[in-house]
Amino acid sequence: MARTDVQLMLDVKAGDEASFDFLLQKYRSPLVNFLNRMVRDQATAEDLAQEVFLRVYRARKQYTPSAKFTTWLFRIATNLALNSVRDNRHHRMGISIDAPADGDDAPPLELKAREMRIDERMIERDRVEIIRRAIRSLPEKQRAAVLLHKYEEMDYGEIAGILDCSEAALKSMLFRAYETLRVELAPLVIQAAPVSRSGREGRPS
């Protein structure tokens, strides 16, 4: 019978290093993907993911199964990601507010770019890049909410626990995030709309 995450963590607490390795194998990919969508590049995401695992290991002696393991794990990851995004933003603002954008991260500071962004991106970048940048245009907490909801498929209660807010606040946050994404992704949504509509007409609403 497979051990639960909580049991694995309790085994780590008891000194079983193999259980830690099991948790590493199980959550390395979800964590790196979550962090990669939260921050600006894979290298930063992997550094943060390493830090998450290290903090889990450091906390093993104090671990008490008071919440779901994933809630605890992703709370650590979310806090690290939020701090990294904020530090990075302050760093970038400190260097130059007029500095040209690097290739990977669109500057939300440049208001002029907002008017041009959709057309330019339609020409210059592929769909995936547009989607990635639309996600990164969200405020950090909304971004985390969308990622945990959409990609980790967590329920509202767990996401609210990770983000330390009520379920009502979370639903409101998700609504605002989708409103932003609706605008940011408008050209793609319109392109996809006929397909989506025909695909859903048979589905009971």
């Binding site: 390395r28 390493q50 990609y151 639903k171 509509r197």
Partner: protein, 173 residues
């Protein structure tokens, strides 16, 4: 039901995670609101687009780096094992340090409270002076009491007494 009333349930509705009651409310609203129907349609488009984002794999060597960092972690010390909660350990250490520091402090020099206010103002000031002269800052109290400047100053106020300041300071001693 207004649009604002169903906003919170729209994402759950789109992703088919709404409760039965939530779903009923949204469907009832959508039947009469073209704006929200269009919004739900667009939210579905957004949700589908988000699903297109491919997953990445951690780079080669990721696990090894984690294991390396974990292996480099020191074992928790005896104090941490004794008091496993980090914050509790810090609080306990601070409390001990504070107690030791307080024990090493010299006995508190309390200034005797001045007696009840005397009817005469001069007597009151004498009492205040009595209290103050014991303070450590007045190291050269004897020098101060014998200063000529003081003996010249006081007789101008009370000319009847030949050396009132000297008497006064004597009494203060």
């Amino acid at each position: 039901m207004k649009c604002e009333d169903v906003e919170q349930g729209l994402i759950a509705f789109v992703d088919e995670r709404a409760s039965a009651a939530e779903r009923r409310d949204v469907e009832s609203h959508l039947a009469g609101c073209a704006v929200c129907r269009a919004r739900v349609q667009e939210f579905r488009g957004v949700s589908n687009l988000l699903g297109e984002l491919p997953a990445i794999e951690p780079s080669f060597g990721f696990d090894a780096r984690v294991r390396q960092r974990v292996a480099a972690e020191p074992e928790p010390g005896w104090f941490a094992r004794l008091v496993p909660q980090g914050r509790l350990a810090l609080s306990a250490a601070m409390l001990v340090a504070l107690t030791v520091w307080m024990l090493k402090l010299p006995p508190n020099r309390t200034v005797e409270p001045a007696p009840a206010a005397a009817p005469v103002a001069a007597a009151s000031s004498d009492q205040d002076f009595d209290a103050v002269k014991d303070l450590g800052v007045l190291e050269n109290y004897d020098v101060v009491t014998n200063m000529d400047a003081l003996s010249q100053l006081v007789p101008t106020k009370t000319p009847e007494a030949p050396k009132p300041d000297a008497n006064q300071t004597q009494s203060n001693d």
